[in-house]
Symmetry: D2
Subunit: 331 residues, 4 copies
């Protein structure tokens, strides 16, 4: 099989480094170019990656990106993605975008949450890259808008239940995220001394990932993210009710039908997932507890925000899009 | 003012050590005896406390406890408390119990959650030691059942709203706790390598602190505790709805009336509390966010589980019970 | 006793906040002004300190600082300290400086390590504020240059042995520091995701605290600091040899004579100090292990970098300088 | 190429789990049996490994181990290894032992540090499995005694310099280790609340890994291990002197000659290694700083204690022993 040449823009951020790490052992993809926007003169490679991938990080150039690569991963801030993606599409490069630029479809939602991000032309085939739920779209899409880490966990847990019309009433999503989810740029909120020994909530009623979840789920949710003092991984505890009479078996069956053959969703039943079980993997683990008398349902979902919540899912989407084994480079 | 002699049973556990630390600087209380049940021969003092309290930890003896002390703090496993408290009460010692032994009043609930703990005689005056909400009972009580760390946070946030009849519908309490809440005895669940970089839920629909919260609140709640990788402190995010038409002002007023003069409850409004703000203090911080259109309410509450959630609140109760300044030894 | 009015410049940094926390419970000092150089309009107080100290942080003004305060604590970057201290001294305010501006005495050393910091006038009485070793100078000094956290630990451990002429040969100091030692300004090096799960050495052969240690000890040392993933506290392991024939007793006696009556140095012998024993306290714990056959000596020293390594020692110096009980506000 | 069947004894400990994780993606080895000594009835697999290796953990049986496997990895306590290894050798199984049972060769050292471990028969070909330094022995050895995590780091850094006769005088090794190095059995020392926010030294002048380092290096060293609050990884800072006149170039050349072609030793020069660069990899990173004027040398070495310090190096040894690509399963 011929190698597929891939490019990475934003290779020095956390998502970009994770892409390099994963792609360095992919059997069929070869990194032809890895770019960063900052100073790259002295940056031969990244210390953790020496010996795995020894290429050089080059300065940003749209021409260099488009010249050889059949596919490009964009691990960039949303505005940069919005600017670059259309240029790559024009040159027939397939784009896997990790930012939020192309996730929201409605004009109003886009205007509210990504006001500076121009819309794409209408005829661009865009897929929302929640792999397990959108495989058929992925095969033909030119641009894959990879979901955020929070929506990936929430939607993998909630979509099958919503599709089976089992949910009843409010949905409250309490998310606990490792700090790497906030990216590599230092800030007061991600300063070690502010995070260590701490838990803090943020973005109550105002996080744009809530909009993303609501769009895909066609349902209002209450989403509260929290920073917890760890680096990688997130766990969401979801509180809701199921329709009267819904049995534990019905829930288990619904999940089994949705994910029974999927390599990266692990159904845990009442053995609740933990972040340690998923770090450095592309797995998403889902557990559930039902109080049958009252219909109260508690879901617990885990994933590594840099893998299944970012680079790993992007690569999984790439595998599907190019007709490869979905597991390639990911186990 | 004469010194009040106090004893501590269980002085080497985390709650007991915190009591020693706090009492060592109390102006009116003097530790006359500190006991532990394990080996005490070589235990002159605890390393962290040298220079603050240099007494010796002695072996357990009910006579030595009852002889001099006017008040005894029990920082013991529930069965030990249940055994010892009545003997101390008989000898006219006032007891401040940090265990769960005497928190549940109903026979059925006691049987379910503390099956090995015998009931007290009917004529013992027991107070549930949630200081801010039970001061009048504390003044006369012979035995103070200090609340658990989880119920302290949940009840301080929810009781005023429930009393004002503002709550409407389900109450979901998502708690994130530091590991010291699990005590000092090593176990797989509290092994460093199992907790670091991890978040895990436990006790869904089956934690006895839920029973304690429901008893005091007279209302069903869904309570899910999580272990997060830090030592001290807990944060609860509470999801519910308020009655239609309830304004943000009404909520703020309710809290202000409940705690406006209290030294240890800090009302934060929409500036959400964080664990770092309360560690090593007796403060309980409460914040809230209301979505006025839908009535969805998100409360965030924080405290140090070893202080306001255990030793600090016990000492606060002691101060109230003995007519001292409530802040003594706690600021 | 009349209150002593004190001012704090740099009140929102970690050292400054710790000063506020400690001074809020000092019996004889009252904070008359607390300043910060950044935006202070909306900064009524610091969240963690509400209820302990409810004053307002004001914008920086040398006049406001000098007007009422008898003593001022400078918790500022070194250049700001170098600029402000002389102005305060002129107005007869006693100054306790936490920066490195005035610690090095030799012109050459100053030029190398603090090139932008002007020298003081020759007639200013400056004391190097290592409390336990410089009490007599502290009583008369107008300016106290409080030592850095690393030198405080190293010098408290090494000075008595050097003074007794027990050391023989190389001295290697391996320091492990919590991240708060790097201050509150976010940087890549102190970004949570870069520190969590990590240990890194820095400043080998080139840390200016080495110069400070060598100046006070009159001896070359090899000093290598490391960042370890915790917030508060530092531990130094010191490797050296003692003169042939030096006994364990001689070492213990030397320490006992040096610190036997001191409230804040705890001698641990071969029960090695740990960071947890000293956090949130002003203690410095010292332990030692001697291999008698070979004369190899391993010292282990611990302190809280924000307390004994910064704000606490500054306050201890203040207590000595003003003739107060050395422990006031610190236990 | 035919599959090589391998067995694992002690598969549920941290070393054993890491072996499972690594072997699950090895192209030429297949796990035919994985055993644990505790209760295994309900242990179908380990949560983190589901989907990677879905075999069942079976109860311990020497017959089952020896029947099919060509090679067995022992991730067991030392006494268990000492008991089992000879039985496997008798049945012509090649053994890769991760315990300390067979690392020390001298009778006296063995008696002191592993008093309950019987010696092997004289004719057993044992190799000390420090891969990069012992490849030729590994090819023929029947039993490979894999080095401890601390000696692996120390020896990879020191052996080339000692072999080139560049070292002069004392060697002080200050090791900082993640807690997983202490194994999976809960203890007070590894209880989360005792480790979080803490650094502690232990085993000064009395750690058996010092004996292992001294044996291989034929030189006295002072070794002090510390526990630091992270899970995986260790960093050693080594303080010594080089012979007068030794240049930085001579040191760099020595390392380059020793490891220039090795896939898992990364030479960092004065860009000092950090734990984060090596976790979840089999790399050992080595950096150095020389003070040319005085000859003082500071080495910094890092590795992941569960990979290069345990399971990874065992697998690397297996690859060499069976004539496979040394990198197989490790990148």
């Amino acid at each position: 099989m011929a190698e597929i040449l891939v490019g990475i823009a934003g290779a020095t951020g956390y998502g970009g480094q994770e892409l390099l790490r994963l792609l360095s052992r992919h059997a069929h993809a070869r990194i032809c170019v890895a770019m960063a926007s900052g100073k790259t003169e002295n940056l031969r490679t990244l210390p953790a990656l020496t010996g795995l991938w020894d290429g050089a990080i080059s300065a940003f150039s749209i021409d260099a990106l488009a010249r050889d690569a059949a596919a490009v991963f964009l691990a960039l801030p949303e505005n940069a993605s919005a600017d670059i993606a259309p240029q790559l599409l024009e040159r027939q490069v397939r784009v896997f975008d990790l930012s939020g630029s192309f996730r929201l479809r409605g004009a109003e939602a886009r205007q509210r949450w990504y006001p500076k991000t121009p819309a794409l032309a209408d005829d661009v085939l865009v897929a929302y890259g929640l792999t397990e739920r959108r495989r058929s779209e992925l095969r033909t899409a030119r641009l894959v808008a990879c979901p955020g880490c929070y929506p990936t966990a929430a939607l993998l847990a909630l979509e099958p239940l919503a599709a089976a019309d089992l949910l009843d009433g409010d949905v409250f999503i309490d998310a606990k995220s490792g700090i790497s989810g906030a990216g590599k740029t230092p800030s007061e909120r991600t300063h070690f001394s502010e995070c260590h020994g701490n838990v803090s909530a943020y973005g109550v009623f105002s996080h744009r990932h809530a909009a993303e979840i609501e769009q895909e789920l066609s349902r209002q949710v209450t989403f509260v993210p929290h920073l917890v003092p760890l680096d990688r991984g997130l766990l969401e505890t979801i509180y809701t009710r199921v329709r009267p009479g819904t049995s534990l078996t019905a829930i288990a069956d619904t999940f089994e039908q949705a994910y029974g053959d999927d390599p990266f969703v692990r159904l845990r039943g009442n053995a609740l997932p933990e972040i340690q079980h998923v770090v450095y993997t592309n797995f998403c683990d889902i557990g559930w507890n039902l109080d049958s008398d009252t219909g109260r349902l508690v879901l617990v979902v885990c994933l590594d925000n840099l893998v299944k919540g970012a680079a790993g899912q992007a690569l999984q989407n790439f595998n599907v899009a190019f007709g490869l084994d979905e597991r390639e480079g990911l186990v």
